[in-house]
Symmetry: C2
Subunit: 104 residues, 2 copies
Amino acid sequence: MNQSEICPRFEKAIGILSQRWTGLIIYQLLSGPQRNCTIKDAIGISGRLLSERLKDLEQEGIVTRTVYPETPVRIEYSLTEKGYSLEPLMKNIEKWSQEWIEKE
Amino acid sequence: MNQSEICPRFEKAIGILSQRWTGLIIYQLLSGPQRNCTIKDAIGISGRLLSERLKDLEQEGIVTRTVYPETPVRIEYSLTEKGYSLEPLMKNIEKWSQEWIEKE
DNA sequence: GTCATTAAGTTACTTTATGTAACTAATTTT
DNA sequence: AAAATTAGTTACATAAAGTAACTTAATGAC
């Protein structure tokens, strides 16, 4: 039986944040808009999954994809207001890790 | 190339929290020590994965397993100090979800 | 005692997610 | 024209998660 007493909004939020790579992608984008390859090199995700996650995060309204029609075309990903609203949370995780996770 | 600039402690913390179910298990245990089956019913995880996660969390020093040699034997899981130190983080996610996740 | 029940956990198997690498398309540099 | 770069996709191998049946141990009904 699944008589869940847990708030569905909380469950949804945890669902987004507990998907592999999403936390790191959001954290990485906190330092400003970036191209696909920059994120890729910074966090070590494969191109395949990065595209997939960015698409998901776009659908959740956390990330925006902007095409700059220069030559060559430049595509940048950035956080929306909703995305930036996760900054305190990320800083919180960062602080917690410094207090509770051992070096190496 | 994976020229990660991300702090390994942060990466480790995200690694724990972004594993499926761990967030919900910790959140559930914030309301006090509980038996395996109570957690199971509350969050809707399968017995197999719950055992696996609880073992992982025990190894991370986040959860303790206590056997009460009563009849019948009672086994309870509870948060350690390290586990409880995640409470502000969890409340943070809860608050965020109430502000930014739509009902339904 | 014997049998059904319950809780914790494991085992075996299916389905889904992730990792890896080769490939396409568009555009630049040489 | 050939080689390189970026964003993204496709195809396939491996790892994680889901499902359900099973084990162990102890209880209560009979």
